[in-house]
């Protein structure tokens, strides 16, 4: 375990130093992301210029919801997506062997192969924005904030597993282009309260493709629309996806035929 942590930190340092090598580029990307955040929040402002509420959610609530979704996406782009996209590029070239030959869990090495540190600034800005919004919203207890954070972490792990499974599918399709658009499109469903969907779709988005745990449920817990049981459900779903994705990875590796072997 300690060895894995050391490797994780080493990979982390490598990509941090690399980012510092391209400082201007990283800064431009950060500014771009921040403009994007501003645009999305301004869109909510415009939306509520025309409507009173969306599926029972008020403007301030939707603002926290959208910010949470944006934060979720930025963290995914920092820690998860770069590695997954890295390997989708390796599969058609038959270069996955390098991960399989490493002394340790192949899944671990695949998952830490790349980090994008230019997401640091947008993440920081979003946390600040959410903090201000919570203060403005008022009446939020420390326990709620802890539950909110816990659900977000559970959601991040769940979606790491789901996208890991998507990525694993490249073993069969060999080439799936637009993978990054796919990631963003799936998570963009989370931008609005899950209550906008009818019962059937709501079930899908709660348990099968649980986008409800990206923002709707964390924010519901935060503002008192849902209780602790939601956190428990979120954790159970996370555990199921962790096992499911591990099983799928092992299954896929049996089918992997590389270019060389």
């Amino acid at each position: 375990m300690l060895r894995y942590i050391r490797i994780f930190i080493a990979s982390w340092r490598f990509w941090l130093i690399r980012m510092l090598g391209f400082r201007a580029e990283a800064l431009l990307w950060s500014i771009n992301s921040i403009i994007w955040i501003a645009v999305m929040l301004f869109a909510v402002e415009l939306l509520f210029g025309q409507v009173n509420s969306i599926a029972g959610w008020t403007k301030n609530e939707v603002m926290i919801l959208v910010s949470t979704e944006l934060l979720f996406i930025r963290v995914m782009w920092w820690f998860v997506f770069p590695s997954l996209l890295n390997i989708t590029g390796d599969i058609p070239k038959g270069m996955v062997d390098k991960y399989l030959l490493m002394p340790g869990s192949s899944r671990f090495f695949v998952s830490i192969s790349k980090f994008e540190f230019d997401n640091y600034l947008p993440v920081f800005v979003l946390i600040f924005i959410i903090r201000q919004m919570i203060i403005k919203f008022g009446g939020v207890s420390v326990v709620s904030v802890v539950e909110y954070s816990l659900l977000i972490v559970a959601g991040l792990i769940t979606f790491y597993c789901i996208f890991f499974m998507f990525m694993t599918m490249t073993f069969w399709f060999t080439r799936v282009f637009g993978m990054e658009d796919l990631f963003d499109s799936v998570l963009s469903i989370a931008k609005y309260p899950i209550q906008i969907f009818d019962k059937g779709m709501r079930f899908v988005f709660m348990y099968i493709l649980p986008v409800a745990f990206v923002a709707t449920f964390p924010v519901s817990v935060l503002i008192g629309k849902a209780g602790f049981e939601t956190v428990i459900v979120g954790l159970i779903i996370m555990i199921i996806f962790v096992f499911l994705s591990q099983w799928f990875w092992n299954f896929a590796l049996k089918h992997y035929s590389s270019a060389s072997s």
């Binding site: 580029e25 431009l28 990307w29 771009n32 403009i35 994007w36 645009v39 869109a43 415009l46 939306l47 210029g49 025309q50 409507v51 009173n52 509420s53 969306i54 599926a55 399709f173 080439r175 799936v176 282009f177 637009g178 658009d181 796919l182 499109s185 799936v186 963009s188 469903i189 931008k191 609005y192 209550q195 906008i196 969907f197 779709m201």
Partner: protein, 256 residues
Amino acid sequence: MQIQLALEYRGGVIIYRFIHLLSLMTIIAVWLASSSIDDQIGGYTKNELVTYYVVALALEGFVYWYVTDTVKEEIRSGEMSAKSIIKPISDYWRHFFGELGYHMIAPIFTIVPVFLLIFFLHANIVVPFSALAVFSTLIASFFAAVLYFNITYSMGLLTFWFEESTQIASFVWVMLFFFGGQLVPISFFPNGMREVISLLPFRYTFSFPLEVYLGKVQGFDLIYQFTIQITWVVILWIFTKLLWSFGSKRYSSFGN
């Protein structure tokens, strides 16, 4: 060749289209679930808004070009010299016709999701009121596609000056997305902003054909906005010519 390439990776394209459909369903569900101040939301009825996004999906396949990356890669790798600079052909038209193949196939991938949406939402879909509206929509969409090409092609050409033109490209992309009316219709913006947006090129790549379809732009206003759209097509076409003539000289002088 582009058609072959798209068909070869059809698995990816189809999955992508369906996932994209999911995110579109979200915005449609928002309109159906929102409670408005009165019957109208930003000058649209709920059904018109639903139609706006369904037609938008059909339009995307027609309007979008992926030429920025192609041009960028050709310039960076040095292929541009062999492919265009030393040849007596226009680089603009080479890229235009080169991607036209993909452009003709792209709407096919969009047809299935569009029909699915129409199937589920047929009660909410508004059909255009006249043959003239259909005709004007087609013309507006055609110019929108050319305008979008001019914008994305010039972003690619910026690579002559900037090693990493991607950031500038993604900034312009945000403008296209936001001021183009892809996120929310232009009528949601405050008055002053709306007037500025109507003079910028972005709106004419996307929201203009949609508003023509929904009959929001009519009569003299239609002619006026068509004039702005075509003016931008010409201005940006001249802009691409300028970028090309200055850029390619600079490029050759580097010894490529």
